[in-house]
């Protein structure tokens, strides 16, 4: 049994992973998968509607899971379909998150259990929200009060919802398809009337009036819509010339024909509203075949992205990291060998899943792995776990797995929270749009972060095992010391080179090598701290325990550089600005200080080393 344990655990892990790849059983007769994979251009990137649905849900209500008023859980695209095509239903969906009691007061509501509200529930307070937004708008973002910040966030949510609704539908239209068909039928007459009027000849007044009414309606739809769903026609050489549906319909007058894709989407909405799955599925099939002709590779990426969204590899990886950590810690108490090997295999599995996730993101984006704060969190964890696998291979004492499991889990949790603000594959602002520097400077810096954290977490294992358990033998302590020392060397190399490369990038783009910008200073502080650890060690100023304490301080230093400086809101690098994480940072620093306090307990109070102390 014990010998087979690692194999058994590995198989269970694989079965679990396999289950995430299988699409959830759907009772719907509609081809939701096909719809989810349709590409649209939003925020500068072509992405599947599935991503649009998930990100919109995150932005509106802070989570992807949506529960309809009747208690059923809707898939993100099902929710999106109702918002796009069936606003009468969607206006009753409780999907607008309000947490701040002062913001609730705008709508005359008191704080209760309910945190998410429907558009209809908020409707009467919208003019007041708009007034509050006008008051908050002139205030700079960094100095807004919590109430003003909440107002701005809430206003954005309402605007997003309004714009989604106007993307493929006219709210006051009982049936957009009927309108579009009418337009198609009358278009020759309309264009004649418009042309005659322009030329100053006599024209059919009724047709002219109807034509301008149509045009104004579609123009309004184009102005208020959000999603660019209509791909450029075959005659258009610019592959980025996607259009909003309203604009495409307005274009019918100048082109003399109704855009077939716009008509298809109107038909899709009609079929969804009237619950006609056969028509719906047929339109989805038509749209897909049509798109495959000129946007084959985009369509393929969108398919992959929709599958990727649904499989949530980073969540599976997170679960496996926890399991690996638990197995590793158990191995110090019982069955050291089989549990250590099981832990190793599970961590390897988690690592491979995370690697696959990162690779897929790279392929979708066409970018190196780190492009924003979210992906830096993914990669910090990845680097640390990769190093842990090496350590574990050398030492086989489960310490690498415990540290790796812990860091892997923590960084993925951080990434998960960072992803709550919307699309994690956003476009790169001009100065960052350089794959060369993203893959040299940014990667080395992030490897520096990851390895400095790893040294700190290894030190935490040393401190906890030493003070709280009797399991820290002299051999284990010595091994841990060598690990921490080696990792600090590695971290010094990468953080130093990364920092200097950053300076060179700055010299290339801003004309100065070093500007004492907060983010640069943050990186420099990590280098300095690692250099301090090494020099202390070489000078004999610290022994084992001192080294561990210094490494834990490294955690504080790194977390400050990674997140703290972004909270200052100054400097050229301040695009990574964020606010809510501040309290988490404080909590993390406090925990590290406590651990350092624990480590400074006199050795007699440690549970390990008792024989030596005696």
């Amino acid at each position: 049994m014990k010998r087979l344990l690692p194999l058994l655990v590995l198989v269970l892990g694989l079965v679990y992973l396999g289950s995430t790849l299988v699409p959830p059983p759907t009772k719907s007769e509609f081809d939701l998968r096909g719809f989810a994979q349709l590409p649209v251009l939003v925020d500068g990137r072509i992405k599947p509607l599935d991503t649009v649905a998930r990100n919109s849900l995150l932005m509106l209500q802070g989570r992807q899971r949506f529960v309809a008023p009747d208690g059923t859980t809707l898939a993100p695209v099902e929710w999106l379909l109702d918002v796009l095509f069936n606003p009468a239903v969607a206006d009753d969906y409780p999907h607008i998150l309000i947490e701040n009691p002062d913001a609730l007061a705008i709508f005359g509501k008191e704080q209760t259990e309910q945190k998410r509200f429907s558009y209809n529930e908020l409707r009467s307070g919208l003019p007041e929200l708009e007034r509050q937004m006008k008051l908050a708008d002139p205030v700079e973002e960094a100095v807004r009060s919590p109430f003003q910040r909440e107002v701005a966030k809430l206003y954005q949510r309402v605007v997003l919802y309004d714009r989604l609704k106007a993307s493929m539908n006219l709210e006051d239209s009982p049936d957009l398809l009927a309108e579009v068909l009418r337009l198609k039928e009358m278009l020759p007459a309309f264009t004649t009337a418009l042309r005659e009027k322009e030329a100053g000849r006599s024209y059919n007044q009724e047709n002219f009036k109807m034509a301008t009414a149509f045009r104004d309606r579609f123009q309004f739809m184009g102005d208020s819509g959000y999603l660019m769903v209509i791909p450029p026609g075959a005659d258009n050489p610019d592959p980025n010339a996607w259009q909003k549906m309203g604009d495409a319909l307005t274009g019918s007058f100048s082109r003399g024909a109704v855009n077939p894709d716009a008509m298809a989407y109107a038909g899709l909405g009609h079929a969804w509203r009237l619950k006609q799955p056969r028509d719906f599925n047929e339109v989805v099939r038509l749209l897909t075949t049509q798109l495959a002709l000129s946007f084959g590779s985009e369509l393929q990426k969108c398919r992959a992205e929709a599958t990727f969204n649904q499989a949530e590899p980073f969540i599976s990886s997170m679960t496996l990291y926890v399991l690996a950590f638990l197995l590793a810690v158990s191995s110090w108490l019982k069955w050291p060998d089989p549990l250590q090997r099981s832990a190793f295999w599970i961590m390897l599995l988690a690592f491979l899943v995370a690697t696959a996730g990162i690779l897929i993101r790279m392929w979708l984006e066409g970018r190196p792995p780190v492009t924003n704060l979210y992906s830096s969190a993914l990669f910090v964890g990845w680097v640390a776990v990769a190093l842990c696998l090496v350590l574990e291979k050398i030492y086989r004492n489960a310490i690498g797995v415990a540290a790796g499991g812990m860091i892997g889990f923590c960084t993925l949790i951080i990434a998960h929270h960072l992803s709550q603000s919307g699309d994690t594959m956003e476009m790169m602002r001009a100065v960052l749009d350089s794959n060369f520097w993203l893959s040299t400077h940014v990667l080395t810096i992030v490897i520096g972060y990851g390895s400095t954290f790893l040294a700190g977490f290894l030190a935490i294992i040393y401190i906890f095992r030493g003070t709280l358990t009797k399991s820290l033998t002299k051999d284990t302590a010595d091994a841990l010391t060598r690990m921490v020392y080696g990792i600090v060397c590695f971290a010094t190399l990468f953080s130093l080179v990364g920092t200097v490369l950053g300076g060179i990038w700055a010299d290339q783009s801003w004309g100065r090598f070093w500007g004492w910008d907060p983010k640069e200073n943050g990186a420099l502080i990590i280098v300095l701290w690692n250099a301090i650890i090494l020099h202390c060690r070489w000078g004999g100023l610290v022994k084992q325990r001192g080294l561990m304490i210094l490494a834990v301080v490294g955690n504080v230093v790194t977390s400050w550089s990674w997140f703290g400086v972004n909270m200052l809101g100054v400097g050229l690098h301040s695009y990574g600005f964020m606010q809510s994480a501040f309290y988490w940072l404080i909590a993390f620093v406090a925990s590290q200080v406590l651990i350092i306090g624990l480590a400074t307990l006199p050795l007699e109070k440690w549970r390990s080393f008792q024989t030596r102390a005696a």
Partner: protein, 392 residues
């Protein structure tokens, strides 16, 4: 004397000093970063890094006392410590070659930063589409330009830095037939029309725009998006006696003139200009956005670079991460005006710009060698242990 010298040397070569200095620099960087929230990056650079001591004002007095070693002091001591350690303690050997390389790279890096602080000159060149300029303008320094416009073919300019005006003395320039005496100088100020501010004492100026204006001194600003606007009151006096009193400020963009001995001189306070032996013409500025968004994808300026003798005459595209380097200067795409027709190029002159590149390579090699030596030693030891365990 001998033991004293020895302990002195011991102090400067010790690793303990290195660690102390590293900790001090870490704290300096940390506090300087926090201080940027209130002071802005530029003020912090001078106060914390380009100084021997960080000073603080004693509350209730005008007295500034040093509270922390500044960048120059810590950097200088680090250099001394490093140099001394290498001379006396660290032997030149293959085992230490990585250390030597790393430290040498570090010395270059520190020196490079020192030289940059001493020699680097930064200025801006603002160009509308079609405009040609042979000069750039400082973004922080202001000068008083006295321009002899008598000859329609060229202007003869005497530029006086504001630092000279600040001392409130009299300035006599051989090219000018009059003396300039500064009676008042404000480092930052606000100008208002006199009729908008009732009940203020009469203006000290009696010529040009001055009589219609009221000057209100303002405290110095350190904000990144604000500029200090100095104002000076100048008494001009020729050989035949006083010519009058003028108020000058960069807020007054139209020149004021004075005629002396048949020559017309314009008085203009403006950003300090740096002239170059070549000209730059903006042909086209482009601001690309991602489709359907306002997220900037790229900024670029197509410019024409030309020398008066036409030996250089070429078109260059300056864009993000791709500056134009010419004549010891580098031109960077720094900004633009909201009209999307005006580009702002940052012009940097830094003779020591190559040092960080060299030191980067040296330090990388040094650390790789150093840690590779450690690693091979570690692996050899482990295999030895494993072999011993196998035979045992």
């Amino acid at each position: 004397m001998r033991p004293l010298l020895k302990s002195f040397l011991h102090f400067f070569t010790s690793l303990r000093l290195t660690v102390v200095l590293l900790v001090l620099s870490l704290l300096l960087v940390f506090f300087a970063t926090l201080a940027q929230v209130n002071l802005g990056i530029w003020a912090v650079q001078t106060k914390y890094f380009r100084s021997l001591f960080v000073t603080a004002q004693l509350p209730g007095t005008e007295l500034f006392v040093p509270v922390f070693p500044g960048g120059y002091l810590i950097g200088g001591l680090l250099l001394l410590n490093l140099g001394a350690a290498h001379v006396s303690r660290l032997r030149l050997s293959w085992a230490k070659s990585g250390l030597w390389l790393t430290h040498f790279g570090l010395i270059l890096l520190l020196l490079g930063e020192l030289f940059t602080g001493l020699w680097q000159k930064e200025s801006m060149m603002r160009l509308d589409q079609g405009e040609t300029k042979a000069y750039s303008e400082s973004s922080r320094q202001i000068e008083l330009a006295v321009i002899d416009t008598t000859d329609p073919k060229f202007d003869d300019v005497v530029a006086i830095p504001t630092a000279a005006l600040e001392q409130l003395g009299t300035i006599q320039h051989p090219k000018l037939p009059f003396r300039i005496h500064t009676t008042t100088y404000h480092q930052n100020s606000l100008l208002q029309m006199r009729r908008q501010v009732p009940n203020v004492p009469p203006s000290p100026a009696d010529q040009g725009f001055g009589p219609q204006l009221v000057v209100t001194p303002l405290p110095l600003t350190y904000k990144q998006d604000e500029q200090n606007m100095p104002t000076a009151v100048l008494e001009l006096a020729g050989a035949d006696g006083p010519l009058g009193t003028w108020l000058v400020s960069p807020l007054l963009t139209e020149p004021q003139s004075v005629t002396v001995q048949g020559h017309t001189y314009q008085l203009l306070m403006r950003p300090t200009r740096h002239y170059y032996p070549f000209s730059v013409t903006l042909l086209k500025f482009s601001h690309d956005r991602y489709p359907g968004t306002d997220i900037p994808k790229n900024f670029s300026s197509r410019v024409r670079l030309r020398t008066p003798d036409a030996s250089v005459d070429r078109e260059v595209l300056i864009y993000m991460n791709n500056p134009l380097r010419y004549g010891g200067l580098a031109f960077y795409q720094a900004g633009f005006e909201p009209n999307d027709r005006t580009t702002i190029l940052q012009v940097v002159q830094n003779p020591s710009w190559l040092l960080p590149y060299i030191s980067c390579v040296l330090m990388f090699l040094g650390l790789v060698i150093q840690f590779a030596i450690h690693l091979t030693r570690f692996i050899r030891k482990r295999t030895a242990v494993a072999a011993a365990a196998a035979t045992a």
